[in-house]
Amino acid sequence: MSDTAERVKKIVVEHLNVDAEKVTDTASFIEDLGADSLDTVELVMAFEEEFGIEIPDDAAESIVTVGDAVKYIDKANA
């Protein structure tokens, strides 16, 4: 697992209080990890803080799964 994926996973586990093994690449924050719409806003804020990037609202809406987040962050930091 990449460094980004590790850090994303850690944030998701902390914020959503879910078991680490459930946080797979294809896991959807809302469908699989029990997040609501406010949780996803907070998660995006946590990613911004952790990786020093800004995720605009329209981009944030396209981040549905853990893999989406990792991909977006890697692209933003490339």
Partner: protein, 419 residues
């Protein structure tokens, strides 16, 4: 009008978490006051408060994790956590579990707070100043709103009846119980979870009350001596925190399911001073009229009142309330017991009225009147028995509880022992 009874109790107080432990320590004359250690008080005039003892739940400490998931605790201010904990206790104690949609729709919530999520607002304003609006959490607003204790309780327990919240400063808890009881009396609901929650012991909260010159400042080295209602050497109230909740229920509804009935909400009175934002009117007329209204509603006479739980905050206002009570009681005043339990718990602000109504109920249940601590040298002359230092044994069939708040708002509850 339909009759309303109390069928469940819940307490989180500076004395303990839990109804029985709080009551035992109150009756034993213990104080919940201590030095504030959760934030820096070096530059604050007041360095003490009555704080909920935190721990793993043993020795009646408060373990938030036992009531609210850690993930959810982070999203809300502490008054919501205290409120949900006391609510859970009251619900469990009542044994009421609505099973049908109609039962859920006939069960409501009325939980208030005096100041709500003050600490979270202070923290968020720093984030806004330092990092900008994009760093404000989506949980900032819903985690601070006063009616969100009622909101969370409704979601947790599935109560779909009236859902509201009272905000009347230090009279909140009493108004919440009185207003909720009326909803049942008027047939808007059969069961109501009602009370108050408060957690405003934070730097900005202490600084704000200090600026009003409302808090004790002379007892930073002897915290347990600071709350001393009616005493010559009192110099302000001591902040408290926690929550008090009751389950209110229509009498026949409670009887039909064989519920344990603690008390009946017999009278409720409320009034406004139309005088000053923080000080009570000097003639005590507002408090007097609230008591009179409650008494009239109860159909009882002053001679019937066996115990009065005073608002008695350990400020100059103590004497004003005392005179109003004497005026109400008239010839029935001599020897009548009136105590201020704020001497032990501190002032729980928006939770005080609910916590003190519960103390009245327990006084009726056990035939014990809790004391006014630290009343060494009364500076008031009265024929009432202010129950100094130690609890007294006395049959209590009728109890009255006063609560007055900033803004000149007054509430009075009269509770009776079940027949």
């Amino acid at each position: 009008m339909r009759r309303v009874v109390v069928t469940g109790l819940g307490l989180v107080t500076p004395l303990a978490s839990g109804v029985e432990s709080t009551w035992e320590r109150l009756v034993a004359g213990q104080s919940g006051a201590r030095r504030i250690d959760k934030f820096n008080t070096d530059d604050l005039a007041t360095k003490i408060a009555c704080m909920v003892p935190k721990g793993d739940g043993t020795n009646a400490t408060f373990n938030a994790d036992a009531y609210v998931e850690l993930k959810e605790q982070r999203k809300v201010d502490e008054f919501i956590v205290f409120g949900l904990a006391a609510a859970q206790q009251a619900v469990t104690d009542s044994g009421w579990e609505p099973r049908t949609e109609e039962e859920r729709e006939r069960t409501g919530v009325m939980i208030g707070s005096g100041v709500g999520g003050l600490e979270g607002i202070a923290e968020a304003s720093l984030v806004l100043a330092e990092k900008g609006p994009r760093r404000i959490s989506p949980f900032f607003i819903p985690g601070r709103l006063i009616n969100l204790v009622s909101g969370h309780a409704s979601i947790r327990f599935g109560y779909k009846g009236p859902n509201s919240a009272v905000v009347t400063a230090c009279a909140t808890g009493a108004h919440a119980i009185g207003d909720a009881a009326r909803m049942i009396a008027l047939d808007d609901a059969d069961v109501m979870l009602a009370g108050g929650a408060e957690a405003s012991i934070c730097r900005i909260g202490v600084a704000g009350f200090n600026a009003c010159r409302a808090l004790a400042t002379k007892y930073n080295d002897t915290p347990e001596k600071a709350s001393r209602p009616y005493d010559r050497d009192r110099d302000g109230f001591v902040m408290g925190e926690g929550a008090g909740m009751v389950m209110l229920e229509e009498l026949e509804h409670a009887k039909a399911r064989g519920a344990k009935i603690y008390a009946e909400v017999k009278g409720y009175g409320l009034s406004g001073d139309a005088y000053h934002i923080t000080a009570p009117a000097e003639d005590g007329n507002g408090g007097y009229r609230a008591m009179q209204m409650a008494l009239k509603r109860s159909g009882l006479s002053v001679a019937d009142i066996d115990y009065i739980n005073a608002h008695g905050t350990s400020t100059m206002a103590d004497g004003i309330e005392l005179k109003a009570v004497e005026r109400l009681l008239g010839d029935a005043a001599p020897g009548k017991p009136m105590s201020s339990t704020k001497s032990a718990t501190g002032h729980l602000l928006g939770a005080a009225g609910a916590v003190e109504a519960i103390f009245c109920i327990l006084a009726m249940r056990d035939g014990i009147i809790p004391p006014t601590l630290n009343l060494d040298n009364p500076d008031v002359e009265t024929s009432l028995n202010l129950v100094p230092h130690t609890a007294i044994k006395r049959e209590v069939r009728v109890a009255m509880s006063n609560s007055f708040g900033f803004g000149g708002t007054n509430a009075c509850l009269i509770l009776t022992r079940p027949e």
